[in-house]
Symmetry: C2
């Protein structure tokens, strides 16, 4: 079969089509299922049984007191949740809320049917082809923010590389400051104890210029709550639930259930544990403040049975996504899922794994797909090149959210009439009218033929990705208002830093 490669040079002069805007996405597909409705009900009931009979270990006395006051049976550090408490929590938990950003164009309604992507979160290390692999630092943390701000398909900030060069009691200042200095998307703050959380909230209020009332009645920043599976919520996480809920800031509940390790080896068993922990955390949030914005969620995958290493983007990962979606719909809440990869490098393995989690998130109706780009080594490292190669997949999947018209003009009977058998459609009016809007425009994919590609150095996608992120960072200009936002928090940071900052909770 004859195929055209590298032809039509005349078109190249017209330049690439404008980048598409992926900032507002709705799921285009019907969510899929792995369980029958009866099985979903059975898993939900089993999770309620876990909460009532086996209980959760909650390491924060204040959280145990809130739950005891709401009717839970508390014995030592164990909390046993009655079904009525959980049901009450699910009645008050909102189905939809606004995730606010400094730039209203980046504010979003978080609800079932909406689709958000965020970059890698929680990586201690960073890696790129220029500086190599190293502990995360403020430079790599900031670089990742620039990349997150640059791509419209990334809908909120996430902490892609931990700035380990900033002392721990001061790190939260640097992280919030960098987010405000770099961009205007929705903010992320870690839950590492009340002192840091209060500082974070104060910086958000000051930086955004919000009154207490404006702050408390809307979500302006979010945090991720990882339970310590199985059946434990540690003190910083419990504190985060209580404090974020009371302040009306968004909680993203995320049991990290690896089937065969910290969770049962079966998908149904691991999801029962995830569901119990998620429901327990949601209940704590709602008892702390009814109506607090709290996202259901989970990050489930399996361990490799040969090595015991966590695996990502596996069939089990996708099955847990699909089952999580069913459980989220069962309780009616929006929910977070995750992609990500175990690969050590931005190669075919890493792409295959991430694409599995991205498609799994799409097909399970996830509201938010975390770790969509840049997550190497099961999250131990943020990869600059990986961020670029992953975002190609994220953008292409996001492109499917745009409606496709089958209307008469799109069918284009005139164009079909215009072209003789064996001819081509390059010059038809139908083509010329649509040329500059048609088709996804590649981010890092190289579509040149083998000869041209080899002559140009035979670079693989990861190698080309270096130039892509370098170009974005070199040309990066913060959006309007960043300097002003930072100016509003500088004095607070200086004062607090002079006082020694805020140590994290043990």
């Amino acid at each position: 079969m004859a195929r055209r490669h590298g032809g039509r040079q005349g078109r190249a002069e017209a330049g690439p089509p404008p980048a598409k805007d992926y900032s507002r996405l709705r799921h285009p597909f019907a969510p899929q299922r792995i369980f029958s409705d009866d099985e979903v009900t059975a898993i939900h009931q089993a999770a309620l049984e876990v909460l009532q009979e086996l209980g959760l270990k909650v390491l924060l006395p204040e959280a145990r007191q809130i739950l005891a006051d709401a009717g839970a049976r508390v014995s030592d550090e164990m909390v046993y949740f009655g079904r009525d408490m959980v049901e009450e929590a699910l009645r008050t938990a909102p189905r939809s809320w606004r995730v606010n950003a400094r730039n209203p164009d980046h504010s979003h309604v978080y609800e079932p049917g909406a689709l958000f992507f965020s970059g890698s979160g929680g990586c201690p290390n960073a890696s790129d082809a220029v500086r190599g692999r190293r502990p995360g630092d403020l430079e790599s943390y900031t670089d990742a923010l620039k990349l997150q701000q640059h791509f419209s398909v990334i809908h909120k900030f996430s902490p892609s590389a931990e700035p380990q060069d900033v002392p721990v009691p001061l790190r939260h200042y640097a992280m919030i400051r960098a987010q405000m200095a770099t961009g205007d998307k929705a903010l992320f703050g870690y839950a590492r104890g009340r002192a840091q959380i209060e500082d974070t909230f104060e910086m958000v209020r000051l930086g955004m210029g919000l009154s207490d009332e404006e702050f408390l009645n809307n979500s302006w920043c979010s945090t991720v709550i990882n339970t310590n599976s199985p059946r434990m919520i540690d003190a910083p996480m419990a504190q985060g639930i209580v404090d974020f809920a009371r302040a009306g800031q968004m909680l993203i509940i995320t049991p990290f259930c690896l089937a065969g390790a910290m969770a049962p080896i079966t998908v149904a068993g691991a999801l029962t544990l995830q569901h119990a922990e998620s429901l327990g955390a949601i209940t704590l949030a709602q008892m702390a403040r009814p109506g607090a914005p709290v996202s259901y969620g989970g990050f489930g995958s399996n361990v490799d049975m040969k090595s015991g290493s966590p695996a990502f983007g596996t069939p089990e990962h996708v099955k847990m996504q699909l089952g999580s979606g069913q459980l989220a719909r069962h309780i009616g809440l929006p929910w977070r899922s995750a992609a990500g990869s175990a690969s050590n490098v931005a190669d075919a393995q890493g792409a295959t794994e991430n694409m599995m989690g991205l498609w799994g998130g799409m097909m399970s109706g996830a509201t938010l797909i975390v770790h969509s780009g840049g997550w190497l080594e099961g999250g131990l490292t943020f990869g600059y090149e990986k961020m670029i190669t992953d975002l190609e997949g994220v953008q292409m999947i996001a492109d499917l959210c745009a409606p496709t018209s089958g209307a008469e003009a799109e069918i284009g009977m005139d164009a079909l009439r215009d072209v003789e058998p064996g001819g081509h459609f390059f010059a038809t009016q139908h083509t010329m009218e649509r040329y500059d809007q048609a088709f996804y425009s590649p981010l890092v994919a190289d579509l040149s033929n083998f000869g041209s590609w080899e002559e140009a150095g035979a670079e693989d996608a990861a190698t080309r990705a270096t130039r892509v992120w370098q170009g974005i960072l070199a040309e990066y200009t913060p959006p309007p208002g960043c300097d002003e936002a930072v100016a509003r928090i500088e004095q607070f940071i200086a004062d607090r830093s002079a006082a020694g900052g805020a140590p994290p909770m043990e």
Copy 2:
């Protein structure tokens, strides 16, 4: 968050779990849509209008005569299909048939709801890390067959690298012989004119030991029919339709509609053209022999608007898959789709592109997903390493076809009771009972931690893939019966070769 990497060495001694069997797959998900039912009807009606008013150019007089006899208006080389003819063809075209292989375990029922994968098809070149990129030869053709036979997730043979070292008039003997000598999956033959087709059929009859009746009443081999878009069926393809249909052998109709080049720039327009060409070819097949097994199909993607190069695994590729699935369901026929990549190497780009087409095929309910593994450079090259890195994705997606149980035993309340908060499930009875069957076992993915991976040479997936295909080929043993099948065709091949073979049709 603490994560376990590289732990649990005791488990490694138990060896990998047994490879899963993916030889019988049914679609686990509901097919998705991009068009409304009205739009699907409009595209179908537009395609009928194309066939009736614009017509197809059919370059084979015999085919034009068949269509004229069935009531088509024929003018010079143009054939205008009445709607009644197309409707009659859709009445006689079977919805379900058996694709037979020498080994009944590899015979399959081809029908909506079934899911088949095949490897790369139609690549003139081959490439691997040892021999480099070169014109396809009989060795690479045979190597590809061995890989196809090895993996249970590949359900039929496809011609992955053209054996260009075999003279054209003898090539079809070498190709059928190599398939019979290598494995026992369903056979593929090219449609390159009546002389070669008759030889192919004779080899199939002899090799399988079939009576004429057994051969003619069941499908024992298949071919792919590419129309010359737009609106043309060349002589070899038309001959293939007529001859395969009359012999009751499976036709896989595949217009290759690149939106913006040989097809309209819109998804709806390109699909209208694809649908018209596919319906025209199906009609010719049914007029040649009512009830002949013919698969609807298409291979649609777009050209890159910068270079004019074909792009694969793009959003438009997936949208055309989804629309094709809707059109196939509209006419009630099983259908073929395709994955594939434009990348020049088995890198993140190649994996991302192929995963798009694999998931697109899954979500559009394709009966057969062609080019699932090894298709580099938009099909110009079969890549050995690419075959391995792609098949990881194919196997993981195929794994989703297995039902997931949410029954009581799987929920495992006992296991949940067994493990204290913060503990682990490694040693629970629930885990031990399921350990050797649990989880997908990686083909080429490396799940070791960064340190171990770096120490072992920091190899990416493509590099590791070399050892994987080398290992498979080194240990390859043909299944029982191959020698006998070949013995039954040797004399025929010798006689025909001595007579000069059969030249392909011009």
